[in-house]
């Protein structure tokens, strides 16, 4: 074994789910003593790759090599025996058990068949002190902060595996100090020669901690590079766009006459999100650009009353409205296509028709039932308008493809004749054809006078339909671009947080 040989290597990995190719011949290699960051927006294939590396999924093509030897992992436990340990964002430990038991579950030392608790506690205390943690190991895990839990999880993973440590968004719910504490631990492990794979959506953390970065987009590897050769803008560009030269130029949208203000948010705020002001006009699409975790979904949830706001005002057509839950939002004429279609969007076992009329029915109330003819007519009309491809409208919606399911949810909101439509990642995880259709639909809805608020990680897509773009970073709206200033490059700069003068210089 040479120093150049990677500890864990993936070669030409393919993974297909149904008709969706999640990974397309992806190569990846992690070396001993390095922190290797893995970046990509949702749906880029990050989590699929991680699941293959840890054994949760089996690849459909390509191979895994551990220290040069091909390996086949049945499940994460099997991966652990090869020395590949994983720590997940949602700490996968037992909140109800003591810290020491979490460290030693499955390998407790026993005496006469009884678990030797004193020895476990002593060993746990000793182990954690090496990570700079001096805590009461007999206390329940859930009594400690997520940061401490993460370190306990890392300690367990390193203890059980010891070659490769996969950190899957470990910092998502940590504050700044906790992040630093965690990073100190990771640096210590790196010095000990572990190969560390670090997944996050916080770019500053990548630059802070990682040595190299691999960027995925749409299931393909964009690049693997040493981070000292890159700056934030480069990374954002690689994550979001094909390259800087976008073919869509938004000139068609700029300078058009704006309609009246339909929806206005003033000082809307919630813990963990900076208060924001925003108004959306008739026939206008406000696009939201920002990386995952920038607060973009939180803004949408707040607008729709999924999360209740701490303060601020909402007016619709000049009249103040109260929105403390989605039902009130629907009553105010809002619609929301959520990011997680399966979890928050579709009613899998209900028919296409019922999925389309459900919001209208909820709005009408229990007793003004739409009769079957109305339902058939409505579903038919919107299915036709959005080109929903289903063998019939009585089939369960779960049998449709992702793109058609998304159109069903869109149809559901169009059926209530909305004033304001929020779309969170409307093109996520759907095939290319349906993707283009949804973009066309958004454009058409704008032309028909609807006010829209669209969140997307696809930069060229946002540029293609937005009149105005709000850029979010660190849970704050940091920039607003409209008219001529809407250009992918400017957006990238704003997301990366580089000062505007550099932006101008960078422009060709």
């Amino acid at each position: 074994m040479t120093a150049q040989q990677p500890v864990l290597e993936a070669r030409g990995i393919d993974k297909v789910f149904g008709q969706h190719r999640a990974l397309d011949t992806v190569d990846f290699a992690a070396h001993a003593g390095e922190v290797h960051a893995l970046l990509g927006e949702n749906g880029a294939g990050k989590s699929t790759l991680i699941k293959i590396l840890t054994g949760a999924y089996q690849p459909d093509g390509g191979e895994l090599l551990l220290e040069g030897q091909p390996i086949h992992l049945r499940d994460p436990l099997h991966g652990q025996t090869y020395g590949i340990g994983t720590v997940y964002q949602e700490v996968n430990l037992l909140p109800n058990r003591s810290v020491s038991e979490n460290l030693f579950l499955g390998r407790q030392p026993t005496r006469f068949g009884m678990v030797d608790r004193k020895r476990i506690d002593a060993a746990a205390k000793d182990l954690l002190s090496r990570y700079g943690l001096n805590i009461d190991v007999r206390a329940e895990l859930s009594e400690y902060s997520v940061a401490v839990q993460q370190i306990v999880a890392i300690a367990r993973a390193v203890e059980l595996s010891g070659k490769v440590l996969v950190l899957d968004e470990p910092t998502a719910s940590l504050d700044r100090n906790e992040v630093q504490r965690l990073f100190d631990v990771v640096r210590g492990l790196k010095a000990k020669g572990l190969a560390i794979i670090f997944i996050t959506h916080f770019l500053d953390q990548v630059f802070d901690l990682a040595d190299r970065v691999t960027i995925l987009r749409n299931g393909r590897k964009v690049a693997t590079q040493a981070l000292n050769t890159l700056n934030t803008t480069d990374v954002v560009r690689m994550m979001l766009g094909k390259d800087v030269a976008f073919d869509h130029h938004p000139t068609a949208l700029t300078g058009g006459p704006k309609g009246a203000v339909r929806v206005q948010f003033q000082g809307l705020s919630r813990k963990g999100l900076s208060p924001f002001d925003l108004s959306v006009h008739e026939g206008e699409v406000v696009g939201v650009a920002g990386l995952l975790g920038s607060g973009r979904t939180e803004v949408a949830r707040l607008m729709f009353g999924v999360d209740t706001s701490d303060g601020g005002q909402i007016t619709v057509d000049g009249h103040p409205v109260t929105i403390r839950n989605p039902a009130q939002a629907v009553a105010a004429g809002f619609g929301f296509c959520p990011e997680d279609r399966k979890l928050d969007g579709i009613f899998g076992d209900l028919s296409v028709r019922e999925n389309i009329i459900i919001a209208l029915q909820a709005k009408l109330g229990w007793f003004k039932a739409l009769n079957r003819d109305d339902q058939v007519e409505l579903a038919g009309r919107y299915a036709e308008a959005l080109d929903i491809r289903a063998a019939n409208h009585d089939m369960p919606v779960k049998l449709l493809s992702g793109g058609n399911q998304q159109k069903v949810i869109l149809a559901r909101w169009l059926a209530i004749d909305p004033t304001f439509l929020i779309l969170d990642e409307p093109t996520r995880g759907i095939d290319v054809g349906a993707h283009a259709e949804i973009v066309r639909t958004i454009n058409r809805l704008r032309e028909e006078g609807l006010a829209l608020f669209v969140i997307s990680s696809e930069l060229d897509e946002v540029v293609a339909y937005s009149n105005r773009i709000v850029v979010m970073r660190d849970r704050e709206m940091v920039a607003e671009l409209d008219g001529d200033s809407i250009a992918p490059d400017a957006i990238v700069q704003a997301i990366a947080g580089t000062p505007p003068h550099e932006t101008r210089e960078a422009r060709p």
Partner: protein, 345 residues
């Protein structure tokens, strides 16, 4: 995407699917009921004989309907609870409470109609209590309704002061044993309740909204549905159904037995709902099918009785039915079925 469904897209909205009787008769529940009835007939050739006597029908078939009515009524309420992904373990105890209330009131000289209304009121109250625990306190349904299952019989005995309260009030007895249009009152009540409940949930949007909440509570919230009000109504209605059942059982034995009225019937009701094809995971439900399920259970009961087995043998048969249903619904067998041609996905 290259789905072949493109060509299948109708140029016009699809017409309502015709539902001929043939469709009904090929349902597994209907076939199961027919099979059970057939076995009963083979065991007892007079099974299908219905006679007219003293202004009402008599016969084993009528008996099945009559004996099955209390569970059928419970199943009507239980169906909707289960459709919301819940369960109500307290209905047997609520039956005892309702019977005790009515019996105690009439023996204390309160007019029978008032007593009946009071009994129905206690049922509504019990159901409402369950609903509050499930919605406001957000306790899991199985745990929330367990409280009343444990305490309910004690409450019933509190009302009857520990005695079996017997009565001779004609109205209460009529509810349990009377007849109308030649059919026993319990059958009439169950049929009317089934039709009314079905009409209400299917003619209003309630049915669809209940199914939506049961299928995906989170998506229901995002679609602007308020699940809590629905859940409250559903649990309250289940309590109401239990109260009706309790009145029938009390009227039948002309007394309220706090210990044994409705004992284990909650389990029969759950079983009836499951046989009727409503999944314990919530979602699609059918009230008539659950009633049919109750009738299947009762037909098996009757069959076991007339073939001379002890009534408890029934329990063995019931457990076998549950096992068969569980195996059929398990992921293992659905994986098996998916391989069969014609299955989607």
């Amino acid at each position: 995407m290259t789905r072949p469904t493109v060509d299948l897209r109708p140029t016009q909205p699809p017409l309502p699917r015709p539902r001929p009787l043939a469709h009904f008769f090929t349902r597994p529940q209907v076939i199961a009921l027919a099979a059970v009835l057939l076995v009963n007939w083979l065991l007892f050739p007079g099974f299908f004989t219905v006679t007219w006597q003293d202004g009402r029908f008599f016969g084993s078939l009528i008996d099945v309907l009559n004996r099955g009515a209390p569970v059928a009524i419970l199943a009507i309420g239980m169906t909707m609870v289960i459709a919301t992904k819940g369960v109500d373990l307290s209905v047997g105890a609520v039956m005892a409470i309702s019977g005790a209330t009515a019996a105690t009131l009439v023996t204390n000289g309160i007019p029978a109609p008032v007593a009946v209304l009071a009994a129905l009121g206690t049922g509504l109250l019990c159901g409402f209590w369950n609903g509050i625990l499930v919605t406001v306190l957000e306790i899991q349904p199985i745990i929330a309704t367990l409280v009343l299952m444990v305490a309910g019989r004690g409450l019933a005995q509190l009302i009857t002061e520990g005695y079996i309260v017997t009565f001779s009030d004609p109205l209460l007895i009529f509810i349990g044993t009377g007849s109308f249009l030649g059919l026993p009152m319990p059958v009439i009540i169950a049929a009317v309740l089934m039709i009314l409940a079905t009409l209400i949930v299917r003619r209003t949007a309630l049915g669809l909204l209940i199914e939506a909440v049961g299928v995906n509570r989170s998506a229901a919230r995002f679609a602007g549905l308020s699940a809590n009000a629905l859940l409250l109504i559903v649990y309250t209605f289940a309590g109401f159904c239990a109260a009706i059942s309790g009145l029938i059982v009390a009227g039948d034995i002309r007394g309220a037995d706090a210990n044994n009225a409705g004992l284990w019937l909650e389990l029969d009701a759950i079983l009836a709902v499951v046989i009727g094809g409503t999944s314990l995971m919530g979602g699609r439900f059918s009230i008539p099918m659950a009633v049919l399920g109750a009738m299947i259970i009762q037909a098996m009961n009757t069959g076991i009785l007339i073939s001379g087995f002890s009534p408890e043998f029934n329990l063995v048969v019931k457990s076998a039915v549950i096992i068969v249903i569980l195996v059929l619904q398990s992921p293992l067998s659905s994986r098996l079925f998916r391989r069969l041609p014609g299955a989607q996905k």
